[in-house]
């Protein structure tokens, strides 16, 4: 799928006009925010854990090559096969090669944001394979040919009627009178279909929340258990992960796990946390015969050493998204790429280019709530600012805005000139307000007055004019009689 981030304004306009979307987003906000707050309040050392987790990731990113190679060595020693992919295309090609060699037709998939990023499903489908998403949310959006609209709740933008419609369309043997009006019924229907596919699957593809260098282990956390069926039932398990998922030790994984679920869903621990080290050994009751780990860069190494490096600490919990008022207004699809919300606004320009994504870091009020809830203490507004600076340097954005800012700044450096401008502006606005105290339309302020009135300046002159007049009247500083 091609990004549509350049059309953010149009995407957002459509989203804002969609009342169904707003009902769905309202539910999300209420659920996630309250649950996270409760979970954090129940863990007094949460702040300390954040600091420690940040330090672990900063250390890892500073020695990324070392830890990735250590991971490779340990994973290989445990019998896994490690593959390196510079780009999404290379990663898709490697995974397709594995499927082809095994003669696989049906391929099951656990939820993986990097697989979405590299367009793996489309790549495999174009080559005659049948990849099937097994996370319920991912399954639904796959049926609808959509991108996920949230990194932990991919179908959060849909209501249950839309999900039922997707099932009626896709499940050809589904009787039209089969009731699908309750979430439970929807879940049963998806489960029934997916069970058959799990058993037919020849290759299972998952993501990885962590790659542990100390042991060569990949880790996934899920709530539905689909990830485990995906990686244990087929003969071949492929884990695909981006380079930033590596951490040094098992101890580090347990540290970050304590933050992850609490920040995401308010759970103390996800329902399933699965550690995979190597393929099945002879005395193992189950597991895949082959275990492949595909490590993808896809633009991330270029962020190292830049102000955007800190985005690579992200553990994809979604807390920033769940607390973002912009996301709550426009939903995930408006962002036009796989990772939406504040982390998307900070990360996407680095992955799909600033020309494509320049709206994302600009469409923020810098309220700072994302940074305040990020378990990894990523300074999201600062990174968005970094992209704004780069965009301004590169001449991106509406020329009227750029020239407006430059012109205003030119005046703001010259107090005497600015005072004249302020007097003129004050006088014009008061004239247009005609004594009503506010304006319903104003030249150069359509963006404001389209939706709200513009309060008119108070009577009596600008503050500086009034202050100077009082100073002259009182004969010096301190005698302004401000309380009069």
């Amino acid at each position: 799928m091609q990004p549509t981030s350049h059309a953010f304004v149009e995407n957002a306009r459509d989203a804002l006009a969609n009342p169904k979307l707003h009902r769905a987003l309202l539910n999300m906000k209420a659920g996630f925010q309250g649950k996270r707050a409760k979970a954090v309040a129940g863990l007094p050392e949460f702040e300390q854990l954040r600091e420690r987790a940040k330090a672990v990731k900063d250390h890892t990113l500073a020695h990324l090559d070392t830890y990735l190679e250590r991971f490779e060595a340990k994973a290989t020693a445990s019998g896994a096969q490690v593959h390196w992919a510079r780009t999404g295309e290379e990663a898709c090609d490697i995974i397709h090669g594995i499927c082809q060699r095994r003669g696989a037709q049906t391929v099951t998939k656990g939820k993986s944001m990097v697989a979405e990023e590299i367009g793996l499903n489309a790549y495999l489908e174009a080559r005659g394979l049948n990849p099937v998403e097994t996370d319920l949310g991912e399954y639904i959006i796959q049926l609808r040919h959509e991108l996920p609209s949230h990194i932990i709740a991919p179908a959060i933008h849909l209501n249950k009627e839309e999900v039922a419609d997707a099932f009626y369309d896709a499940h050809k043997d589904l009787p039209p009178d089969r009731p699908l009006s309750e979430p439970r019924e929807l879940l049963e229907e998806a489960r029934g279909v997916l069970r058959r596919i799990f058993l037919a699957s020849e290759v299972g593809i998952t993501g990885a929340n962590f790659m542990i260098a100390e042991t060569g282990t990949t880790v996934i956390v899920t709530n539905e258990g689909n990830g485990d069926l995906t990686q244990v039932l087929p003969k071949v398990h492929v884990a695909v992960a981006s380079i930033d998922k590596v951490i040094p030790t098992l101890e580090d994984a347990t540290l970050i796990l304590r933050l992850l679920a609490r920040s995401a869903t308010g759970q103390e621990q996800s329902t399933y946390t699965t550690f995979s080290t190597g393929p099945r050994r002879h005395d193992d009751p189950d597991g895949p015969e082959e275990f492949h780990i595909v490590i993808v860069d896809n633009g991330r190494s270029a962020l190292l050493g830049t102000e955007a490096q800190e985005t690579l600490r992200c553990i994809r919990c979604g807390a920033c998204i769940n607390h973002c008022p912009i996301y709550a207004a426009v939903g995930g699809h408006s962002y036009g790429w796989v990772v939406p919300g504040p982390i998307g606004a900070a990360l996407d320009p680095g992955l799909i280019g600033l020309a494509e994504a320049h709206h994302l870091p600009n469409a923020s009020s810098f309220c700072g709530r994302c940074e305040s809830v990020c378990p990894m203490k990523i300074p999201l507004p600062s990174i968005m600012r970094h992209w704004r600076n780069a965009g301004f340097e590169a001449g991106l954005g509406a020329p009227s805005f750029r020239y407006g800012i430059r012109g205003w700044a030119w005046a703001a450096r010259r107090p005497w000139l600015y005072r004249v401008g302020a007097r003129l502006g004050r006088w014009s606005l008061r004239l247009l307000a005609r004594g009503k105290g506010r304006l319903t339309a104003a030249p150069l302020a359509n963006g404001w007055t389209k939706w709200r009135d513009l309060p008119a300046p108070q009577a009596g002159g600008t503050f500086h004019d009034q202050w100077r007049a009082r100073q002259r009247g009182a004969g010096g500083p301190g005698g302004a009689g401000a309380g009069a």
Partner: protein, 267 residues
Amino acid sequence: MNEQRRTGSADSTAGSRHVGFFVTCLVDLFRPSVGFAAIALLEKAGCRVAVPNAQVCCGQPAYNAGDRRDAQAIARNVIAAFETFPYVVAPSGSCTGMIREHYPKLFAEDPDMRGRAEDLAGRTWELMSFLVDVLGVTDTDAPAFPRKVTYHDSCSGYRELGIKAQPRLLLAGVPEMELAEISQPEVCCGFGGTFCVKYPDISNKMVTDKAEDIAGTGAGTVLGGDLGCLLNIAGKLKRMGATVEARHVAEVLAGMADRPGIGDSEG
């Protein structure tokens, strides 16, 4: 002046309480009474207040637009204009946050300017925080304000500067006033400086939610510490036909809430 006024334990020589007042460009243009109310509160607390003529704006519009060079040029003027004051106070969390948190970053590559920026940052305070945290004021002897009010915490004040308890402490001393909190006090109103005109439709959704939350409290007045948010909120309340008036908190605390609310007719 009431001698029982609690101005706290800060040492009270006139020199150390010399305050350079940063007016802010929005107060200068739209609501000078906020500036006079703030100065009245500072003088009542024993400060000697000056308003340097060379100030204009903190430069945040340029800084947030990504126009670093212009933001630096404006910041240089502000730093020079306030170099001699032991304290600098602004009636805005947003402008204070810009000076305290962002000026030093703006000059990260210029050690000389960075030093001066850090020095100014250490001396600059938001009005409510200065009164309570620095001067130890616990009561401003405000006259009665017989209304139900609600309070909007601005994002920069709350998250950058930790301002939440200070205005509530001072408002608790206002006779006959009842404070009703909104349901989502920590959510942005959608102003965001130039954000509200660059992305007006999104901003509108945010301020609509905020205005409805405010109206839902049944308060007759919404108070806040940042004129940007208040212009946005007042403009939306008026457009919705709500009767809630919006004011800067300093107006009520200084007993200067007799002027019409923000966006209300003067007739």
